[in-house]
Symmetry: C2
């Protein structure tokens, strides 16, 4: 899987990496049990510092996407705690939902938008690169 960072983005580099890896898992390019590149390898590959990659991995561990193993590095391992995940998700979408209400975007249209985004991810499963 290809990972890149945009040095002109106002999003922190470690967050860019985090997001791309989450999308990678969601689309099946990275599977449970897979090992991510070592912090040094990935750092060199995308031309950033080792610690920036390490921070991305640490965030992914805290969010329950990987386990960090001294032997195997960062291994994709999805946490099972659905209740926590659901609560976090509700908080993540809260502001977006408030904006929708402000703009008079109805529930049906929100569903349509959600499906658009969701399907764009889910239907890309199993495809490579």
């Amino acid at each position: 899987m290809i990972l890149r960072v945009d040095f002109n983005s106002d999003e922190a580099l470690y967050m860019q990496l985090r997001n791309q890896i989450i999308f990678g898992i969601a689309t099946g390019r990275i599977r449970e049990g897979d090992s991510l590149p070592s912090v040094r390898q990935l750092a060199e590959y995308v031309s950033i510092n080792m610690h920036t990659v390490n921070k991305a991995y640490t965030v992914l561990r805290e969010e329950g996407f990987v386990k960090l193993d001294r032997r195997k590095g960062a291994v994709v391992a999805l946490e099972a705690d659905r209740k926590r995940v659901v609560e976090e998700m509700k908080e993540e979408i809260a502001v977006a939902m408030a904006k929708a209400v402000c703009r008079g975007i109805g529930r049906e249209e929100v569903h349509r938008l959600v499906d658009e985004v969701y399907d764009a991810i889910a239907n890309r499963e199993e495809s490579e690169e």
Copy 2:
């Protein structure tokens, strides 16, 4: 409407204000045409600096929620550009959707979550305080 900031939060103060004002508009506590407090008044009220409030207002203007008028201060004025708003919303929920797919949360359950959050906001319309 009551505005507060949490100094222990890891969310920036100006973002806390921004979010509360967006929720205020969404729930009808603040209506189109209403004036927000002056930057100095609100700053004193929540015990923060004038410029921090100003930044919140500036963000709200950039996002199309208010217009800044030297005479009337910050007036709630919703931008009409739906296409832009929809695109921004899709970006805002993208990572959350990816996380849902990772966790095996299906579209139906996402709809249920969305409705929960959406209704909690929309159904609070017209109520006061």
